[in-house]
């Protein structure tokens, strides 16, 4: 089973805030492997354990993004590829998925592509299905589990109010969402050290034979026209009462709203 996992390095968004002047406050914000991608990688490792084969990890970003590839190599990925060039800067999901799909074509043959359902900085959940669209291969999104048996893939996919079990022949692209209480794996010191020796390639638009008009800001159909802090909320009434009075006050409100009679 040859698996490609797409990874993104993201700022730990819990820590990103906005300055008064409308710029992003990013000091002290550590960069991490997008947690959904981390889960996708964990699933890839699980599948590889059963089926054998190779895991290639792919990312796009600045030089620093190679850190997430190194993490993946330490965890057991076999080869890693970073799309790193000025031409890629400013890409929206369309241009990103286009570049990644060009790289994936270069990494062929493959049986399976795994992506996190979304990146926590953008929250779009678009890049995965857009890669599948560019490659014109089937996709199953928002999966909590994926298994492979006799070259048939079985995925557990979330839908509103429940889940579905789907089967697909290969190749297919899966986007994964991390089930609660799944603990993301981190590598041992020894595996990190061993990962140092594994291959890490940096590719530019030339290597992936991409149409440069479809890359970066110029290749992106969407534009950010403005960023701003979320609107502050209006203030209501605040009560500082004894616990008895607090309780009866709440009950009164609920009665007024006809929740209780």
């Amino acid at each position: 089973m040859d698996i490609i996992v797409c990874l993104k390095q993201v700022p730990n968004t819990a820590k990103v805030k906005m300055n008064q002047d409308g710029t992003l406050l990013r000091t002290g914000v550590p960069s991490i492997l997008n947690p959904y991608d981390h889960f996708a990688l964990a699933k890839a490792l699980e599948i590889k354990k059963q089926t054998g084969g190779k895991i290639k990890v792919l990312s796009m970003g600045p030089t620093q993004a190679s850190e997430v590839l190194r993490l993946a190599l330490a965890l057991g990925a076999d080869e890693s590829y970073l799309l790193c060039d000025r031409a890629f800067a400013g890409s929206d999901t369309w241009a990103t998925s286009y570049a990644l799909s060009c790289a994936i074509k270069k990494l062929a043959p493959y049986n399976l592509i795994l992506c996190g359902q979304m990146a926590i900085d953008g929250d779009t959940a678009q890049t995965g299905p857009e890669i599948a669209g560019h490659l014109n291969i089937p996709q199953i999104t928002f999966c909590t589990d994926v298994k492979i048996k006799n070259d048939i893939l079985t995925a557990t996919k979330l839908i509103e109010g429940g889940h579905q079990i789907l089967e697909a022949s290969l190749p297919v692209l899966i986007t994964l969402t991390t089930p609660h209480n799944f603990i993301l794996p981190y590598p041992s010191f020894t595996d990190i050290f061993k990962g140092q020796q594994k291959p890490l390639f940096t590719w530019t638009p030339k290597e992936i034979e991409a149409d440069s008009s479809k890359l970066g800001l110029n290749g992106s159909p969407t534009r950010v026209s403005k960023i701003y802090p979320p609107a502050p909320k209006q203030k209501g009434q605040i009560f500082n009462l004894s616990s008895e009075d607090t309780a009866s006050e709440i009950v009164k409100i609920l009665q007024a709203k006809k929740v209780i009679k």
Binding site: K15, T27, G28, L71, A74, S188, F189, T190, F193, Q196
Partner: protein, 539 residues
């Protein structure tokens, strides 16, 4: 041989953080602290899952052979989790050190492979009731057992105290006096006649097991004598003092950072009189900012010495002492202020600053107290002062005076170094170092001066230390403030020191008025740092 690169280093620290998050939550640490118990399973699991114990084991025996630059970062990160656990792990590093320095190839192969494979917890047994920093008074003895004219075994008798991992280690590295002099022996836990005493009930680092050891006719094979040669013990111990003390400095740095960063997060969220505490100038200037300046100064110094040790492997005794002394004192003061920054909350056990405050005290004590450090630093540099005819610090000052960029604090530190040189000279001329207290204080001034000098140099280099959370501009501001503070402290306290023992006041003014003028701008810089700190550690 391949070395751990900076990305690997970062990943290792991340793995360590995540391990702690999953396995060592504060509630558990607090419980262990209360019960005075060592979470042995969690630490063993850390060895097994992370392989943290492999850091000091050479690659050829299944280890990672980390550099000093790697280890100090791991030590600092461990100390952020818990200084007791950090001490237990550090003791394993320390315990394998005599073997590393003095072991024969065969010994290394046997013992290191065993340590790597079996995840052994190791203890370093040097200290005795009458032999702390002064190992000359060593009483534990190892007698030769001779058979057919050959030494086949040693019989060890005596006792050790305050040994980290004392009651829980699998393997002990023990310093004992042989006929040929002090020597290190490897003693497995179950050796007959070897008993481990009760775990001490300590003020802090209660998660670290500390116990006495007792040896009654403990017989170990002659192969367990490290280096297979008697009398190498002191050399082997001394060779690593620079290194071990540097590590204690790193431990202190980690614990101190943890305390202050907790306080900043608290201050960001605690609203009093309509604004968060972190927006209040007095609070920040007094309780928060000065500590982080010292941490970054310490980090730059530790990093520099680590790099030197990575090149030369040993030595740096004075520098190691400076690192430990400076960082441990900075961290203690910081932990103390962190409690105050938390107000009443800080005084409860619900918040980690209370524990850190108790824990971090040990960094001023083990591997030599602060007073031993002051003495070591003074002795080391007094020699330099004499040897260079007073030019040791004047050379450093000239170097700073030659630099054109003014906003790095170069001028202030140059004045401070000249003042220091003058003070040493006054001490020499008036034979003031007869007073022990003066030697201690000189040790303090020297440590501050050298750390501040190095901090300015680092800022001038245009690079920040790997792992430092700030940009160059912030480091520059910190180095500048620190240079001014230190220069003023040297001049004023140096003057006081000298005059306090003289009959007539000295005519030297130690550049006091010039240094005071250099203090312009400190407040504005502190304001800027307040904002950087509250933004960097906001949640």
């Amino acid at each position: 041989m391949q070395k751990i690169d900076s990305v690997s280093r970062k990943l290792m620290l991340e793995s360590l953080k995540h391990y702690a998050k999953e396995n060592l939550p504060f509630d558990l640490l607090r419980k262990c602290d209360e019960e005075n118990s060592f979470p042995a399973e969690k630490v063993k699991k850390m060895y097994k899952d992370l392989g943290i114990n492999l850091l000091l084991i050479p690659q050829e025996y299944g280890g990672l052979a980390s550099s000093t630059s790697d280890i100090y970062r791991v030590c600092a990160e461990l100390a952020r989790i818990d200084l007791g656990i950090a001490t237990a792990i550090f003791a394993t590093f320390l315990g394998s050190d005599p073997l590393n320095v003095g072991g024969t190839e065969e010994q290394k192969k046997y013992w290191f492979t065993k340590m790597a494979r079996e995840n052994l917890l190791v203890a370093y047994g040097a200290t005795e009731a009458d032999a702390g920093s002064d190992l000359i008074a060593l009483k534990t003895r190892a007698e030769q057992i001779v058979k057919d004219g050959k030494i086949t075994h040693y019989k060890i008798n005596g006792s050790k105290m305050w040994i980290s991992n004392g009651a829980i280690a699998d393997l002990y590295t023990i310093l004992a006096l042989t006929p040929g002099g002090p020597s290190w022996f490897l003693v497995p836990k179950d050796t007959p006649g070897f008993t481990q005493l009760k775990h001490e009930d300590k003020h802090g680092i209660r998660l670290a097991n500390t116990a006495g050891l007792c040896f009654e006719d403990v017989i170990v094979p002659a192969e367990n004598l490290i280096g297979l040669k008697e009398g190498q013990g002191f050399l082997q111990a001394q060779a690593v003092f620079g290194y071990t003390r540097l590590m204690v400095g790193a431990l202190a740095l980690g614990a101190g950072q943890e305390a202050i960063e907790n306080a900043i997060v608290y201050a960001n969220n605690r609203v009093q009189a309509a604004s968060p505490l972190s927006h209040k100038q007095g609070y920040m200037h007094k309780l928060i900012v000065p500590h982080y300046i010292k941490f970054e100064a310490a980090r730059a110094f530790i990093d520099k010495i680590a790099k030197i040790l990575d090149e030369n492997n040993h030595g740096q005794a004075t520098e190691g002492a400076i690192a430990k002394y400076y960082a441990s004192r900075a961290a203690n003061k910081a932990a103390d202020d962190a409690i105050e920054a938390f107000g009443g909350f800080g005084y409860t056990k619900d918040f980690s600053v209370e524990k850190i405050k108790r824990d971090v005290k040990i960094t001023c004590i083990y591997e030599g107290t602060s007073e031993i450090m002051e003495m070591t630093i003074y002795r080391g540099r007094w020699q330099e002062h004499l040897k260079t005819r007073g030019n040791f610090y004047l050379d450093m000052a000239r170097k700073m005076e030659d630099i054109k960029e003014i906003d790095f604090g170069t001028k202030a530190i140059a004045l401070g170094l000249k003042a220091l040189s003058d003070i040493l000279e006054e001490c020499r001329l008036n034979r003031l170092t007869r007073h022990q207290y003066i030697t201690f204080e000189l040790g303090r001034l020297i440590a501050n001066a050298e750390v501040a000098f190095n901090f300015v140099e680092k800022a001038l280099s245009g690079k920040v230390v790997e792992g430092c959370p700030f940009n160059l501009e912030t480091i520059k501001t910190m180095a500048r403030i620190n240079a001014k503070n230190v220069a003023l402290d040297i001049a004023t306290n140096g003057a006081k020191l000298v005059n306090s023992v003289l009959e007539k006041p000295t005519e030297k003014d130690f550049y006091i008025s010039q240094i005071t003028k250099e203090c312009v701008g400190i407040s504005k810089d502190m304001d800027a740092l307040s904002i950087v700190l509250r933004d960097t550690f906001r949640n």
